[in-house]
Amino acid sequence: MSSFTLDGHDVPFTEGQSVLQAALAAGHPIPHLCAHPEFKAHGSCRVCTVKVNGRMVASCTLPAAAGLAVESETQELKELRQGLVQLLFVEGNHFCPSCEKSGECKLQAVGYALDVRTPHFPQLFPDRPVDASHPDLILDFNRCILCELCVRASAEVDGRHAFALSGRGLTKHLIVNAESGLLKDTSVAVTDTAVTVCPVGVILKKGKGFAVPIGQRTYDKAAFGFEGKKP
């Protein structure tokens, strides 16, 4: 099996794997948000950026190749990743203490893993009304990090195309597939993969709030990258 090095450790890979996939499989938790094992690499959050031959690249879209010398756990990259997570926090409206997703949220978990203590940048406080039209689901756009996982899941797995993105630049935003703009008028179902794939607290099931108490949630028990393992 061929291998490359990650911070000096040998990482084996199979043909077609990305640097991120191979690193995760070998137990090296490079922080990431928009990447998901079931979906093609997206490359939008940039949190998985690594340094190869002096060049910064997103490890999710970088094909693993024999002999690469990849840097990941450096101060420089930590600061970059902290900054990116902070940009995501100030872009939306994230009030973790009152969010149902707290403890299950990847943005929060990656933030903790990277020692992000403050948003640092000025808050942008966007105006994003909540869509509670659907009988079983609620959409709180305030927390959307635009990772397109729901878009991809709805198109590729559920075959419904219930979600998409519109706008450009900072006005880019999630939309639903209905002329009314309301989730209730789409064909989305509460059992869809798109509903459960959201890494943050946008797509939530009604009536299920706090079913798992705070303190017993995934990231209450283990840090990002060590989910399901003993801390």
């Binding site: 910064m56 997103a58 195309h161 519109s166 450009r168």
Partner: protein, 592 residues
């Protein structure tokens, strides 16, 4: 829009979803804006998810998803337009029409806004009315436009002289000066085998004129060798870099050289179809290009058996963009050509193997294709003999800003900045922006540097700043440009360009401190290191150039206080005053 009209429009485009951007453009022409029911109709007929159509309509700035009036006026907001008074003229037009800037007038008839550089920098200020360009604005022209709108004169009956765009050629070389018949260069290319022509191209050492300077022969060879049932040739005529307008003139004066170059590419790599992706701002070139394509089909320069070569079939389609600088990035351009949002793709794979419809595709700049035609005419060695060892041929520079003779200057590669400054009659310039906002700002110490890939590469823009200009204005204008044009795909550029813009705005407003400079530096590093495409990588260049080369200009504008709020505290309370219905002295904060 009547169902019959929509039906005819969709028929014309063969109900082909790859033509979505064209369909929406033409539908908007008729309907005035792209309403939610129109989106539903279009999606239904094309058999694509409605949300996809809405996503495309929401991406391009020329698409109106809210009513914008019968007359949609957009002032070009390049820094050179501002130098020539575009701000005052815009406000004048607003007051003459009784419309608030950026808003639709109460009667729903007219709106006046701004748009990124329209590529008429040497004859600015300019505006677009319903995407039709009017250059050389002055008080008289503004009054005339106001009158035409006030009297609801239909746009097609406006005086033609308003829309006359000059070519402004100041210095001709063998490209701008060429006078050859359509197809002559192509004939020379087709006299050689595809491999032999590729050989000539390799000898010429031609490098792409669109920015990156990639070897054209290498690109064509990769596309030729890539497996695929079909191949494509794409001419990048998006020319969105502020300050660049050479492609506009090449497409008018030397269109047949460009099309000869594209056809020679098809011959070389084995392509059957080609596209010219023209920026929406250059709509005035649509009719002449369509006419030239028709003439070439008649003359057997396009179509079946081109120039009598059996089995060599090639045709070219024109596509118009709709206001998105990022669509000049080749993979975003391909997405747009396929009828989607213009988001740059992940690479690898590259367009040469997975381009249009994921088939091998060559994307080259307008000037690159025109240069290919010169190589066909004069041979690879003759081309390589001009310029410098690593930058062969000539370069067409778009010169604007503070100089006596703005316009196009064709010089051999490797000419010095000073030579061009002298040629255009610049007096005591304090700086030059080479290559547009994504390029570099040069100080007088650097005027002996050479314009070529070995030294200062350029996408063709050359903007001169005279001694009176405030370079911070320039950098602020460019920061707004990038924030407006970010496609929003990746985090650093989507959020970082806006935060950088705000830091610079604070400095510009006299509320900036050293902390803002530090923040801007941090954001710049993040943009450069982690953005997904060239737009984000270069969005920090204007600020970094200013910081590195003109520090006093920046520091003069910093407030000396240690802490200054980044926003106006009193203004921030306006909303609270409104809800509480208070406006007394105690409801205001001053001098905090």
């Amino acid at each position: 829009m009547t169902p019959a009209a929509l039906h005819a429009l969709l028929e014309k485009h063969r109900h082909d979803p790859t033509r979505l951007v064209q369909i929406l453009r033409e539908a908007q022409d008729v309907a005035g804006w792209i309403s939610p029911p129109l989106i539903t109709e279009v999606a239904g007929h094309l058999g694509v998810p409605r949300a996809r159509v809405e996503g495309v309509a929401g991406f391009y700035s020329f698409f109106a998803t809210q009513p914008r009036g019968e007359y949609r006026v957009l002032f070009s907001d390049d820094i050179t337009d501002r130098f020539h008074g575009s701000e005052r003229l815009r406000l004048d037009l607003c007051s003459q029409l009784g419309v608030e800037p950026g808003k639709l007038r109460a009667d729903g008839r007219v709106s006046v806004g701004v748009t990124s550089c329209t590529g008429l920098c040497e004859q600015g200020p300019a505006l677009l009315v319903n995407e039709h360009a009017i250059p050389r604005l002055d008080d008289a022209r503004i009054a005339q436009v106001a009158e035409l709108i006030a009297t609801r004169h239909p746009l097609r009956e406006w005086p033609a002289e308003l829309f006359v765009v000059d070519d402004s050629i100041e210095l001709r070389g063998w490209l701008l000066g060429a006078s050859v018949a359509p197809g002559e260069a192509l004939g020379h290319a087709l006299a050689l085998s595809p491999d032999a022509f590729l050989e000539q191209l390799a000898k010429s050492k031609l490098r792409g004129r669109g920015g990156a300077g990639f070897s054209t022969a290498d690109k064509w060879r990769s596309a030729k060798q890539a497996p695929g049932p079909t191949r494509f040739v794409v001419c990048n005529a998006d020319e969105g870099e502020p300050g660049t307008f050479k492609d506009r003139v090449l497409l008018r004066r030397q269109l047949d050289l460009v099309l000869d170059g594209m056809t020679a590419c098809a011959w070389t790599i084995g392509a059957q179809r080609g596209f010219v992706y023209l920026r929406g701002e250059y709509r005035f070139l649509e009719a002449p290009i369509e006419a030239a394509l028709a003439a070439r089909r008649k003359a057997k320069l396009l179509g079946r058996d081109v120039l009598g070569h059996r089995g060599f079939d090639f045709d070219v389609e024109l596509h118009l963009g709709a206001g998105a600088y990022v669509c000049g990035e080749e993979s975003a351009l391909l997405e747009s050509l396929e009828g989607r949002r213009g988001i740059p793709r992940n690479r690898p794979p590259y367009p040469v193997t997975n381009g249009y419809l994921h088939q091998p595709t060559v994307v080259n700049n307008v000037e690159t294709f025109a240069s290919v035609a010169l190589i066909a005419l004069h041979g690879g060695d003759a081309f390589a003999a001009v310029g410098t060892p690593k930058s062969s041929g000539t370069r067409v520079h778009s010169v604007s800003g503070d100089c006596a003779k703005p316009g196009l200057y064709e010089l051999p590669m490797g000419a010095t900045v000073r030579a061009l400054l002298d040629a255009c009659g610049a007096v005591e310039p304090q700086a030059v922006q080479v290559g547009g906002p994504s390029g570099v700002l040069l100080s007088p110490r650097e005027f002996d540097r050479r314009l070529c890939f070995e030294d200062v590469p350029s996408a063709g823009a050359f903007v001169v700043f005279g001694p009176e200009r405030d370079l911070l204005d320039v950098v602020v204008n460019y920061a707004h440009f990038f924030a407006h044009e970010s496609c929003g795909f990746c985090t650093p550029c989507r959020v970082g360009t806006t935060l950088l813009e705000r830091s610079l705005d604070a400095i510009d407003a006299g509320r900036g401190t050293r902390r803002d400079v530090k923040e801007a530096l941090r954001l710049s590093r993040m943009l450069r290191d982690s953005s997904h495409c060239g737009l984000g990588h270069t969005a920090c260049n204007p600020f970094l150039s200013l910081y590195e080369k003109f520090k006093p200009t920046l520091e003069r504008r910093l407030s000396s206080l240690d802490f200054v709020p980044t926003f106006d505290v009193d203004e921030a309370l306006a909303a609270a005053r409104e809800v509480t219905g208070r406006d007394d002295v105690k409801a205001h904060l001053e001098d905090v």
